[in-house]
């Protein structure tokens, strides 16, 4: 059933000629437990082209966040390897910026300082003015133009996550990793932030991977939705191209005749 649906949805697969930005090769995550090894992920293959926006969906606990933290270098890779721009990943680094689920801003710093601490690491030789300009540019883009000097603890959750997004982009990463960045927000704020994210991304065209369990979010944002099977031994079960034109607009997408077919296809996968 699902295979037929896919054929109808995607009769022709256009060869993507962009270079590979991120390659996950045979990667596995195994946690040793007293009762023997517990394999969360196994033999997982994933290739992402430069400038592609990927979203990964799957049930809670399927290991999608584990996969993302392994790419980020925050979690050891048990088997296999991750390559970014041809180089094998060793440990975390600002070339793979992460927007975490909780905003993870330092509450004792202002919004500007929170972005600045990253910018200083990535552009150590820039002048102070240049660094300031970078921070202000991105904060302005995410709608915090008037709140540079507000303490992070004084901002609302949604505002904090905007700063988190600004910090991610300001690092000029090769890959931007988003770990359910809107999971803790109410649905109105979530919609606003999706728009903000998409707007900045449209300008920067940074390769992005977003983990989510929101089907609509994954369709709206991504070029390709990766569906993961439930763990243990989770792997990529299926993938779906979302060929909507960019720049995207929420209303146009919701009214697009194919939208519900894509949505149905993803829901079908998740419900089986």
């Amino acid at each position: 059933m699902s295979v037929i649906a896919k054929d109808i949805l995607q009769p022709e697969i256009i060869e993507d000629t962009r270079p590979d930005m991120l390659v996950c090769k045979d990667i596995a995550k195994i946690y040793p437990t007293p009762k023997g090894d517990y394999t969360v992920l196994s033999d997982l293959q994933l290739t992402i082209k430069k400038g592609e926006f990927i979203s990964i969906i799957g049930h809670s606990g399927c290991g999608k966040s584990t996969l993302l933290t392994m790419i980020a270098g925050l979690n050891d890779i048990s088997k296999g390897a991750v390559y970014v721009d041809g180089n094998e990943v060793r440990g975390a680094g600002p070339d793979r910026a992460v927007v975490f689920q909780s905003p993870s801003l330092f509450p004792w710093m202002t919004a500007l300082q929170n972005v600045m601490i990253g910018v200083k690491q990535v552009f150590p030789h820039a002048t102070k003015k240049q660094k300031q300009d970078i921070c202000k540019y991105y904060l302005d883009k995410v709608g915090l133009g008037n709140d540079f000097n507000k303490r992070a603890s004084e901002l609302s959750q949604g505002m904090q996550q905007r700063v988190g997004i600004a910090r991610g982009f300001a690092l000029k990463p090769k890959v931007l990793l988003l770990d359910e960045p809107f999971g803790m927000l109410d649905s109105l704020t979530r919609g606003e932030l999706q728009d903000v994210l998409l707007e900045v991304w449209q300008k920067e065209q940074i390769t992005a991977i977003m983990v989510t369990h929101d089907v609509d979010e994954s369709i709206f944002l991504a070029d390709r939705v990766i569906m993961m099977t439930s763990g243990p031994y989770a792997k990529i079960g299926d993938e779906l191209r979302i060929p909507f034109e960019r720049p995207r607009n929420r209303v146009d997408i919701l009214e697009h005749p194919d939208y519900y077919q894509y949505r149905g296809y993803l829901m079908d996968f998740l419900n089986h």
């Binding site: 975390a92 910026a97 330092f106 303490r151």
Partner: protein, 360 residues
């Protein structure tokens, strides 16, 4: 800033109902708030004084009866009558020695203040007298002559405060750096944990003896104030544990998200400590310092009492040994002063602690 301090100290909340009543806003609600925050506490104070007074009267009568009976058995009916008259007349030589009544404590307080005025006047006069001589002595490179008369009660309080702050600073300078180092490394934490756990519950008295042993030897040929050194080092050693444990705890339990951000940004070890670990553990460190200060003040009195160093502790002990008619009342005055200063110190630390916490 001023408003913020008022708010943090609780002064604002304390004064708010008055202001509202005077302005005529929500009178009934604010009168109730006034009752709650002024009248009831005031009633509880009156109740306390009442019980104290009743208890003191009972003890006084009991002691007086015993004295009269004793006089009767020793010197017969005439002796008993003489003793009774003596007690009623208020003669200091035959007053029953027991818990003083609130009124006596108040008198003792006033007499201590008066005493302070007399001593300060003497001190000023003395300084004026030796001013010229001292100038000459200093010019010659000699030590100036200082007043060595009996210290007043207020002087004792100042000395105690000086000692407690010296001890507190010592505790902070030892405990915070060690706490940070221990907190950063699991290995160090597990290897030193036994030492901390064993030393933490050691009584102030034992610390004092230990410090005495060391200071006596180290400073055998120095003419610095040994008793001050001994008491403030003991206070520091007794009180530093709360800060040490809290600092290492704060440093070792930095939010996992912050650690991840630091990793992604590839912060250096120095940046990690000063930009992430320290700021995020500041609230814990200041909670520790607050406990340290209150412990320091509490053990100070005991230590001064034992070390024979000047201060409130030795004041209490001297009055107890003295046994004059108003000695007991003076001890009670000292007790209230100690309590109130402790309360004030804790309030100050609470304000600092609140200013340091970022989850406002």
């Amino acid at each position: 800033m001023k408003e913020r301090i008022l708010q943090l100290t609780g002064i604002q909340a304390f004064l708010a109902p008055w202001i509202s009543v005077i302005k005529g806003e929500e009178v009934q609600k604010n009168v109730q708030a006034l009752l709650k925050s002024y009248i009831y506490p005031l009633l509880s104070i009156l109740l306390f004084i009442g019980i104290w007074h009743a208890g003191a009267t009972y003890l006084f009568n009991k002691e007086a009866t015993a004295k009269i009976e004793k006089a009767r058995t020793e010197r017969g009916e005439a002796g008993a009558l003489e003793m009774q008259n003596c007690i009623i007349s208020g003669d200091v030589s035959c007053q029953p020695n027991t818990l003083p009544s609130p009124a006596k404590v108040w008198d003792a307080y006033l007499s201590l203040l008066a005493d302070h005025k007399i001593i300060s006047a003497k001190k000023d006069a003395f300084e004026l007298k030796v001013a010229k001589t001292n100038e000459k002595r200093i010019a010659k490179g000699q030590d100036p002559i200082t007043y060595t008369g009996r210290p007043s009660f207020v002087d004792q309080i100042k000395t105690s405060l000086k000692t407690v702050f010296a001890g507190f600073l010592l505790a902070a300078f030892i405990a915070i750096p060690i706490g940070i180092i221990i907190g950063l490394s699991t290995t160090l934490r597990t290897s030193f944990n036994w030492l901390i756990q064993i030393l933490k519950p050691v009584s102030p008295v034992v610390w004092l003896l230990l410090v005495f042993m060391i200071v006596k030897t180290v400073m055998s040929d120095s003419d610095m104030d040994k008793s001050f050194m001994i008491s403030f080092i003991s206070v520091g050693l007794c009180s530093m544990w709360a800060t040490l444990v809290n600092t290492s705890m704060g440093v070792s339990t930095v939010d996992k998200d912050f650690v991840n951000v630091a990793k992604v940004l590839k912060l250096s070890i120095g940046q990690n400590i000063f930009k992430v670990v320290l700021p995020s553990s500041l609230p814990m460190i200041f909670t520790g310092l607050r406990i340290t200060l209150s412990v320091a003040w509490m053990v100070l009195i005991a230590i001064e009492l034992l070390a024979q160093s000047p201060g409130l502790g030795s004041f209490v002990w001297e009055e107890f040994q003295n046994g004059a008619s108003d000695s007991n009342a003076k001890i009670i005055v000292a007790m209230f002063v100690i309590g109130m200063i402790g309360f004030m110190l804790d309030r100050i630390m609470m304000v600092v602690q609140k200013m340091m916490s970022f989850n406002k």
